[in-house]
Symmetry: C2
Amino acid sequence: MLSKKTKYGLKALTFIARSGSDMPVQVGEIARGEQIPQKFLESILLTLRKSGILGSKKGKHGGYYLRKDPSEILMTEVMRVLEGPIAMVPCVSLNFYEKCDDCPDELLCSVNKLMIQVRDSTLEVFKNTTLKDLSLR
Amino acid sequence: MLSKKTKYGLKALTFIARSGSDMPVQVGEIARGEQIPQKFLESILLTLRKSGILGSKKGKHGGYYLRKDPSEILMTEVMRVLEGPIAMVPCVSLNFYEKCDDCPDELLCSVNKLMIQVRDSTLEVFKNTTLKDLSLR
DNA sequence: TGCATTTCCTATTAAATCGATAGGATTAAT
DNA sequence: ATTAATCCTATCGATTTAATAGGAAATGCA
């Protein structure tokens, strides 16, 4: 299941992208527009900023803005920041690899085999989708 | 992330499929062979039996066996029984659909759009993979 | 300078889920 | 009968998730 964090994050990014201009968008505005608890959203936008996807401006007339054009923001990047590994098991993750405690040999493991296929097909979607795609209605 | 339940369940099914014969396979044997806590595995095999994928025989020389040929057991079925919905959000699930509380219009929702694609590509993998594929080494 | 506004940061909480265990009831073979 | 297996329910502890609280830091403007 997709976490609320990721869901809210994607909605917020879309909201900012749809705003069009380069003016920073305020958390409160997004929270109201997308029905997201404001304090929770604050923390989500903060991690998006720390990851480099968003920039921010403090104080009056402050807010968050995209650091790149929406067409250059890939879902692979966004999903990894918000949701973590794209793979369903660590032993199949490209960016967050970890060996299983059980599993003497990954090449013989049926789960491993299946999950590599799922990872690749999911990756294919994320690699070919940008924030621009999401923000088109 | 894939739950341990699903991971163990897939491994157990593979173990049974690899055993080849129609003789029931005992929980203890699988648990030992695949490094799975026996009591936990018991409950997993029970749900697989209740779903109709496995059959069981009680008492001495009892155990679990496949109700169909491995080549006829699709991953769509197995995954739905063990892991639940294949979709990452309920509003996109074919078998477990639920409307979002937020989200006035699904057709305008960027998350919805993206997750439909992910669902379809994952489904494509599960639809084209059987237990037989998993059990080939 | 001072005040209002907004992001930034840390800590805490409540609820849900997950992984595992416990203990015994039921069924079947010998 | 005895033994060996599945079956069933309940519970527990740990982790994660979603959300809240409270205030620090920075910025714009009168």
